[in-house]
Amino acid sequence: MLSARAVLARPISPSAGPLAVPSALQLIGNTPLVEIRRVRDGVAPGVRILGKLEGFNPGGSVKDRPALKMIEDGLARGRLVPGKTILDSTSGNTGIALAMVGAALGYPVELVMPSNVSKERKRTVAAFGAKVVYSDPLEGSDGAIRLCRKILAENPDRYFKPDQYNNEANSLAHYETTGPEIWRQTEGAITHFVATIGTGGTIMGTGRYLKEQNRSVQVIAAEPADAFHGIEGLKHMASSIVPGIYHEEELDRKLGIDTEDAYDMVYRLGREEGLVLGQSSGAAQVAALEVARALGEGTVVVLFPDFGDRYLSTNMWVGWGKLGGTTS
């Protein structure tokens, strides 16, 4: 374990920070990579585990990247023009990202999400000025996808639908930014990339870039172990509408993660690493440890999609007494 002195070292001086940027959109990407020092559970000393903290994006999640890229692509192709509204189905983070990018560019945004997404997400989207349509919580994200299709079919000329599940610009965002960032931040030392799957955009695009740099980089996906789960944002592929951009054959491995293990990992990362992250990050870290434990040496990069503050009202934290959260 690193000494306190090493942990406290500050590589960034006040004079070395970036200058002002023209808008919030220029703050997307270039997220930090942090060493996971304590939550290692028997991983060999020669194996590094590095977490990519996507919560540092201005919209608070990894989804800022595809949201910006899909809207840029829509503008470039003339599919998004003044007078149109940006419409999509989302369980939260993509909605927040689209709402932020839409606000920054001056386009209205309308989002379809299951009514059981967290309160913080609903309120954040509203704070960016987006309109929300709620779908049946019993049908999960697939219900939102179907309702969104219906809304679009009724008024096709009114909307631009980025369609994160089937828009290759989603994966491309990660191919062009997340992948190169990780390659540079590890100085090419990455051996394994671990990420969760919601649309598949992150793992597809990042994985493709990394494998192009070094064919031996292993790309490992984490998904809920079962269709009935509580890891917000993730899909259990075997029981879901499979996204068009998801190509499972490009993965080296896929690990199923139990919701309760993911939640317990979130509690640990907060208390042992000083990183309060979202449920999907907990799932990602469970998978990263499983991968890392099998290695003698290597550099495992695990992508943490967001911070935990937007889940503090959810089941993970509230109402379960002795568990990680409060009893309010």
Partner: protein, 91 residues
Amino acid sequence: MVQVKVPTPLRKYTGGAGGVEAQGATVAALVDDLERRYPGLKERICDESGQVRRFVNIFVNGEDIRFLAHLDTPLKAGDELSIVPAIAGGR
């Protein structure tokens, strides 16, 4: 009888039905009755210690049982109970 709304991922236990009926004076008794009618369902809702799994929400007439009396929440004929996973998916 209590009307029970079943989420899509659990409908494999109910023969595809999204709404079923069951009975019980409390949520715990109703979950046991559901298990008799649809074997395998209870294990998905409750953990080994018999408590509702953390990621499962149960609503009685729209109220979350975590803020009522958990599994001891009383039920009466005509109530509506919804089992809702804290899922979404695809961000």
